[in-house]
Amino acid sequence: MGKVPHVSELHDPPTAQQLIESVREWLETDVFPQVEGRLQFHTRVAMNVLAMVERELEIGGEQNEHYAAGLAAFQCNNEAELAEKIRTGALLSKEAEVEEFVLNSVKEKLRVANPKYLRDE
């Protein structure tokens, strides 16, 4: 991997991301092949969850900043305000831009939650 985006001034290595990665790799190589049935399924879920957290630790900070800036462009302080404005029709004059922004933000969530889900549009 080699990426160390969450270097802490205080905490010693490994980074949070590297620690999680080490547990995920252990589940993949040592645990998963040894279990079956429901336990294997739950092991797979656990591996997926850890991989998701690794991705969020890597790109989540940047994504959050980007999202806040996008919300501000629609005069929203937070996501709840955007949702409210869409519901009440306050942003109808910018409907296309809002839809583009929301679709892009959903894609950002998928880049962390499940990148394989994204498809050619």
Partner: protein, 328 residues
């Protein structure tokens, strides 16, 4: 209060006392869901299933008994209710509401049905069989007591408002759903959760439709749209349960019910179904977050909400551009 029979022996005795069914063997618990438990047993060579409501469940299982009986009488492939607490006079030795049905051999796991060679023949005919079964179900005229008619849009809007989270994508979807709602059609008995996972499949095709807990009165297109939601395609490339084209479902449905639903209407219900599953993912994660059930599996489902936001927004864009009705 007396304790509910909980061991296999106690439950067997209780069933005999309640129904007169004698010679019960091989009693074993299959699953224990949030609202009910399911046990399997034998009477002679015949396998039987008993579903028993949990004390804490607010649901009335006797409504489901009535639904199953009506569906069976209409020729829908369903388990046959052999006995239930509804028909008891006096006390119920089983402790809570229950029903006993015949068992079906077969597969319910979607990934196997979608991929294993032994279901190759079944996959070709299943979409039409789904249409035909739903057609028969939606033609039922008899009244089943206790079923509710809930406006799906109003119900799930409220769900979104009350979930304690903001989801701009679902607000966009509800706006589109409101503006494009098909004329309110006929009301009928709908299954409410007709999809892979709740269907028993054999190598020759559909054997039984299970899980009637969510049955209600609604628009017939609701069941068809739900079956096409991307989550229920389990990675399959085709819209109907991952294995069939829209037109196979719609044509078989039309032949079976005499009612031809348009692709536009079906896709509107598919978008609503997508939003609905997204909201249900929020609820599933909430079981973990509120501490009622601790489970990393449930927790992870919270991060599947955005899959449904994505599908809903893409489907809406496609339908707005007029492409949605041609992609059969």
């Amino acid at each position: 209060m007396e304790s509910i029979p909980s061991t296999p022996e106690e439950l067997s005795l209780a069933i005999t006392a309640a129904t007169g069914l004698d010679g019960i063997t091989q009693m074993r618990r299959l699953t224990g869901g949030a609202s009910r438990e399911t046990w399997s047993f034998h009477v002679g060579d015949e396998q039987r299933i008993i579903q028993r409501q949990r004390l804490t469940s607010p649901r009335d299982m006797h409504v489901e008994v009535g639904v199953l009986e009506a569906a069976y009488a209409a020729g829908v492939p369903v388990p046959r209710v052999l006995a239930s607490s509804r028909d008891l006079v006096g006390e119920n030795p089983v402790g809570t509401q229950f029903m006993i049905v015949n068992a079906f051999e077969g597969e319910t796991i979607a990934r196997k049905i979608l991929r294993d060679d032994e279901y190759g023949t079944a996959r070709k005919i299943l979409p039409a069989q789904f249409g035909s079964a739903l057609g028969k179900l939606h033609r039922i005229n008899s009244e089943v007591p206790g079923l509710e008619d809930v406006d799906q849009i109003a119900f799930y809007k409220e769900h979104l408002r009350d979930c304690g989270q903001s989801h701009p994508a679902f607000e966009i979807a509800f706006r589109w759903l409101d503006e494009n709602r098909p004329p309110i059609g006929r009301r009928c008995l709908v299954h409410g959760d007709f999809r892979m996972g709740n269907l028993i499949i054999g190598n020759e095709g559909l054997r039984a439709v299970l899980d009637w807990e969510l049955a209600h009165i609604g628009d017939p297109a609701e069941d068809l749209g739900w079956l096409c939601v991307r989550a229920w395609r389990f990675g399959g490339g085709q819209p109907v349960g991952g294995i069939g084209a829209y037109k196979d479902l719609l044509e078989a449905y039309g032949e079976s019910s005499g009612e031809y639903i348009s692709l536009e209407t079906l896709r509107w219900w598919e978008v609503l179904g997508t939003v609905k599953w997204g909201l249900m993912c929020i609820s599933q994660a909430a079981y973990h977050l509120t501490g009622s059930v601790r489970s990393h599996e449930l927790a992870a489902i919270g991060r599947r909400v955005c899959e449904n936001e994505y599908d809903a927004l893409l489907a809406i864009r496609e339908l707005k551009n007029g492409k949605g009705a041609t992609r059969v």
